[in-house]
């Protein structure tokens, strides 16, 4: 303790603490000032005053006061604790931990500090520290159940599963009475199941099973027990028992895929690592599922799973009744259900045959074909059967790459029943895949207009609009489903990430980097919030005893940054920063120079104009701010909390950060840590590191690419680019430079590149081209490398691209036989290559564009003859009617262009 205060002041100090706890901040401040008048150097009072200031949103003063207080009283645990609280409130957990540790050194018996510390430690995954804190807390209060469990969990996440299990057993030993009070039955049951899962995770399956049998009566989660037992029985090799347990579970829920998997596993019917089965396995599987289908005639899973493993004729025989069941019921999701089967060799062709047969038969006779040669003729079908068959067929043909045929069929469906929204969405999807985003957006909006209360239709329309870069329209449309129409705020609050990602991508395409960044950073913020949100669970889960869920949550949080949305957002943000970094900055000097050349009159006019412009801008900004403030006040009045006004709606400030590359690096480090083997991660990593001239980091990326994606075009380009940089380096001067060069040299030799880098890179490039001469992306990468290595070879490089021939699909694959295999994205990437960089060539780009326009007639990007851009948007009389479907988007949507 620091300086002793006289009794009167000591009481006042207690008042400060009490005022802080009861949030009577003004009262607390008053008391603090009263003490400080007499004892201006009293550290703890200064610290407490700072803490209160912090709660009153006066951060800088708060830190000043607390640090000053600490300076006067370094040996006070109060001061350190307060300092820790301050850091914690700013989410600076590492610094907070240090402060708490200092506080504990002074006052090791303080359980409150210890508890706070343990929360921070688990949040930061300082698992060893967490174990120690929980151990101390347990020794202080061994009669608390929560302390035992927390100690066990701490050991669990620290990887000491055996210790954790022992702790739980020890705790059970302290409970003399076997009976559990009624109010604690669930908690007790959770603890028992947690222990079983601990043992199972530790690989002690037998013990886990025994434990489960012994405690079964007291576990209230009856289904959980059975699932756990079935799994454990299989793991200890009692497959017969496991099998009957899984069969019993299937009787409870015959649509749980996990039960089927379990059943297969304990019958020795698991596929090999490449997903295939032996003929003997196939026969048994087939028999097994036949029995299950008879036993559970209503189970969808029992009917769908065989389609995965059956082949050839058997597959066809199983597919037919499956499809007609869905078609007759009019279930729109049939195609999504079958979609994964297209990637299995041969199945797409069979589906093609089956669907065509059904469609032909319905068209000619109104009946479906008989299931087999021996089965009786079918009855006449309902008129909606044709509709749903057309609907399926359109999606099927699109999946097979037959755009024209797919459009023809979907148009037939729309003519047959023009009120079916799903058909418009399918048509939108076909056109989107074919590259006509504007027409797709228009169609999706048409579907939306049929049911304005349908959020799914709204989201689909918004998604298509964003793909078509109609961001304003998309914003207005999305706002129809937000609270008070307060669009962005609301979508952000709801963490609507697909929207932010699509919106960011659209702004990126339009080179509006400010707005793009705003969207991408919003995603980043959501993930930060998710990490932050777990803080509450550390206390909550231990109190509520949901231990299994708690450990699962912690593990989920650990992998949060590997989720696709996060990665895509981070890649987007990094690409933004890189583009901003590369963007030539208009130098202020150049402007000045220009000014110097102007006459006096011109200068005056310019100044006047600038002043007027500035005034206008200011007036507009003031008006906007006032409006926003008024809106906020209004919202506050309504009872909602006033939101801070967004002062940078266009993200201009974001684009003006000084060091763009170091901003990018912040995102990059998380990306590389959690999704470091993804191509997209490594690509942006190379872009950032090469611009920062970090040779070793670039090398690391190249090595990683070689390891994870040895054949990828990106790997080749990065390797060439890297060694080209090395070739052109000036001789190393500093000692450290020399070491770096030595490392690179060793690596070079390891990759089989000789001293004469230019020659051996060229050799490597030729070999690469030869090895992948049938693949467009590889040819493009080789061509770019060729021109980079020797500008004299540019013409030849461009020829390499133009000489590419599109491979045609062979039978058996997802694409129909004879359909070209190039994708729109690949071809667009090649066009970019011919437009900028070492291969930039106007005539060459135009030639490629023309070729692609032929190949992709619906593509807007290549200005294909059937795309919306080419034809002027016709004024259709369909739209002549007044009124616009009660939506903000109605009239604008009509500008979307042609559909057919």
């Amino acid at each position: 303790m620091g300086t002793k205060l006289p009794p009167k002041e000591a009481n006042q100090f207690k008042l400060i603490v009490k005022s802080y706890e009861t949030k009577q901040y003004k009262k607390g401040l008053k008391a603090a000032d009263a003490i400080l008048k007499k004892f201006p150097d009293h550290g703890e009072t200064l610290a407490m005053k700072g803490l209160i200031m912090n709660c009153m949103e006066k951060k800088t003063q708060a830190y000043e006061l607390v640090r000053k207080g600490l300076k006067f009283d370094l040996s006070s645990h109060v001061c350190w604790h307060v300092y820790g609280l301050l850091y914690r409130s700013d989410r600076e957990y590492r610094d907070a931990i240090k402060c708490y540790l200092n506080a504990l050194r002074i006052d090791p018996q303080n359980q409150q500090i210890l508890k706070d510390l343990s929360l921070l430690q688990v949040q930061m995954r300082d698992t060893a520290g967490f174990v120690e804190s929980r151990r101390q807390l347990l020794t202080f209060k061994p009669n608390h159940r929560a302390n035992w469990l927390a100690f066990a969990v701490a050991n669990h996440i620290n990887g000491r599963l055996d210790v954790a299990a022992k702790i739980l057993s020890a705790y059970e030993g302290t409970q003399e009475d076997e009976s559990v009070p009624d109010g604690e039955k669930y908690e007790h049951s959770e603890m028992l199941l947690y222990k079983v899962s601990l043992l199972a995770e530790a690989g002690k399956h037998k013990e886990a099973l025994d434990e489960l049998s012994k405690k079964q009566a007291r576990i209230v989660d009856k289904l959980g027990v059975r699932e756990q037992r079935a799994e454990l029985l299989h793991l200890v090799g009692s497959n017969e028992e496991a099998r009957s347990e899984y069969e019993a579970l299937l009787a409870i829920n015959p649509d749980n895929y996990k039960y089927y998997e379990g059943l297969q596993a304990c019958m020795g019917l698991k596929p090999a690592s490449d997903g295939t089965y032996t003929p003997e396995q196939l026969q048994r599987l087939s028999d097994l599922f036949q029995g299950l289908q008879e036993k559970y005639p209503k189970s969808a899973a029992a009917k769908r799973i065989p389609l995965d493993f059956l082949q050839g004729e058997e597959f066809e025989a199983a597919l037919k009744p499956h499809v007609r069941r869905f078609i007759r019921k009019g279930i729109p999701s049939l195609f999504s259900d079958l979609d994964p089967l297209y990637d299995q060799p041969g199945k797409a062709d069979i589906m093609d045959r089956v669907f065509t047969e059904m469609l032909d038969s319905i068209r000619s006779s109104g009946k479906l074909p008989p299931l087999s040669d021996t089965s009786a003729e079918e009855d006449k079908e309902n008129p909606s059967v044709l509709l749903w068959l057309l609907y399926l067929m359109a999606q099927h043909l699109d999946r097979r790459g037959k755009v024209e045929e797919a459009l023809e069929i979907v148009n037939e469906a729309i003519t047959h029943t023009p009120t079916l929204m799903d058909a418009y969405l399918v048509k939108a999807r076909i056109l989107e895949r074919a590259g006509d985003f504007t027409a797709a957006a228009r169609l999706a909006d048409e579907a939306r207009s049929l049911d304005l209360a349908d959020r799914y239709l709204n989201s689909e329309a918004v998604n298509h609009m964003l793909k078509a870069d109609q961001v304003d329209l998309a914003e207005k449309t999305a706002a129809l489903f937000t609270k008070h129409g307060d669009q962005h705020e609301n979508l952000f609050d709801m963490q609507c990430m697909w929207y932010e990602l699509a919106s960011g991508d659209s702004y990126m395409r339009q080179k509006n980097y400010g707005r793009a960044l705003k969207n991408y950073l919003a995603l980043h913020k959501h993930y930060n919030d998710m990490v932050e949100d777990q803080f509450d669970f550390h206390t909550y889960c231990l109190r509520k005893m949901t231990l299994r869920a708690y450990v699962a949550t912690l593990r989920w949080e650990d992998h949060l940054h590997a989720f696709p949305f996060f990665c895509q957002g981070a890649v987007g943000a990094i690409n933004c920063y890189v583009a901003l970094h590369d963007r030539p900055v208009v130098k202020a000097e150049a402007k000045e120079e220009e000014k110097g050349r102007m006459s006096v009159a011109e200068k005056k006019r310019l100044q006047k104009e600038q002043r007027r412009k500035k005034e206008e801008e200011e007036a507009a900004a003031a008006a906007a701010a006032a409006a926003a403030a008024a809106a906020a006040a209004k919202a506050a009045k309504k009872g909602g909390s006033a939101k801070p006004v967004d002062t940078d709606p266009d993200g201009v400030k974001l684009t003006e950060v000084e060091d763009k590359l170091s901003e990018a690096s912040k995102h990059l480090s998380l990306l590389l840590e959690h999704a470091g083997s993804e191509l997209s991660s490594l690509q942006v990593a190379f872009e950032v590191f090469s611009r920062k001239k970090k040779l070793l980091l670039c090398l690391q990326v190249v090595r990683r690419l070689l390891k994870e994606h040895p054949e990828a075009p990106l790997t080749h380009s990065c390797l060439v680019r890297f060694f080209l940089t090395v070739r052109d380096l000036p001789p190393a001067e500093s000692e450290s430079d020399k070491i770096v060069r030595a490392v690179i040299d060793a690596e070079r030799a390891d990759l089989g590149l000789s001293d004469d880098l230019a020659a051996s890179l060229q050799q490597r490039n030729e070999a690469f081209l030869e090895a992948h001469k049938d693949s467009l992306p590889h040819r493009a990468a080789a061509a770019a490398a060729m021109a980079m290595l020797d500008t004299g070879l540019k013409a030849r490089a461009i020829a390499v691209i133009h000489e590419s021939e599109e491979p045609l699909a062979k039978s058996g694959g997802a694409l129909a036989e004879g359909v070209g295999e190039w994708s729109l994205d690949e071809c667009a990437a090649v066009l970019r290559l011919l437009q900028e960089g070492p291969l930039a060539d106007e005539a060459g780009a135009q030639r490629w564009k023309d070729r692609c326009a032929q190949r992709f007639p619906y593509s807007q990007h290549f200005k294909g003859s059937k795309s919306s851009v080419k034809a002027p948007p016709p004024v259709k009389d369909e739209g002549e009617e007044e009124g616009d479907e009660g939506s903000a988007a109605g009239s604008a949507a009509r500008a979307n262009g042609v559909v057919e």
């Binding site: 009019g330 309902n382 509709l387 047959h416 029943t417 009120t419 304005l452 209360a453 009617e881 479907e885």
Partner: protein
């Protein structure tokens, strides 16, 4: 994507038919349907009348697919009598779904509403082109009778004349129909 549906019945082939009201959120479906079935372009007034008619305007869903509709206008009569008339503006079913009894279900629904106690409806009437024999037979089957002929009622189609078909409701009138469906525009 089908809305929560109110009335449920069976079509002739045993399929499930349900009726749903028209609101500003789903009126787009009625527009789509009319554009597909009738040569006439309907004004906004038509749609506001249809929605204002409440239970007298219905969309028909056949196996959850929207295939038909009846749209009426309520006409309050002037004077102290207090009765009202129902004017059937359109009644129609998409071509592939005809002959399944869906039109009859829609008309029966309207007639049922008229007959319901306290509806205050004295008469239900509509216009049919004079050569549309199928439609005339359909309505006659449901107790309608030709009460008038209007010359040159239609402007762009031949023949331009129409009949007025109507049916009155007295305290004792009740009729058990069993008719066939057909598309019949105004």
């Amino acid at each position: 994507m089908a809305a929560a549906l109110a009335t449920v019945a069976k079509a002739k082939d045993g399929s499930h038919v349900s009726l749903d009201g028209v609101r500003d959120k789903n009126v787009g479906q009625l527009r789509k349907l009319n554009a597909a079935m009738f040569p006439v372009k309907y004004q906004e007034k038509y749609y506001s009348d249809a929605m204002a008619a409440g239970e007298y305007t219905k969309l028909a869903f056949y196996s959850d697919v929207h295939v038909g509709a009846v749209a009426c206008r309520l006409e309050r009569e002037a004077g102290s009598g207090g009765g009202s008339k129902v004017y059937i503006m359109t009644l129609g079913v998409l071509a592939p779904y005809r002959r399944l009894g869906i039109g009859s279900l829609l008309l029966q629904h309207v007639l049922g509403q008229c007959e319901a106690e306290g509806s205050g409806v004295r008469e239900v009437y509509l216009h049919v082109q004079t050569n549309n024999e199928e439609a005339i037979a359909f309505y006659k089957h449901f107790g309608f009778a030709i009460t008038d002929t209007i010359k040159n009622y239609y402007r762009r189609i031949q023949p331009p004349d129409c009949y007025v078909l109507s049916r009155s409701f007295g305290p004792t009138s009740s009729f058990q129909p069993n008719g066939t469906a057909a598309a019949a525009g105004q």
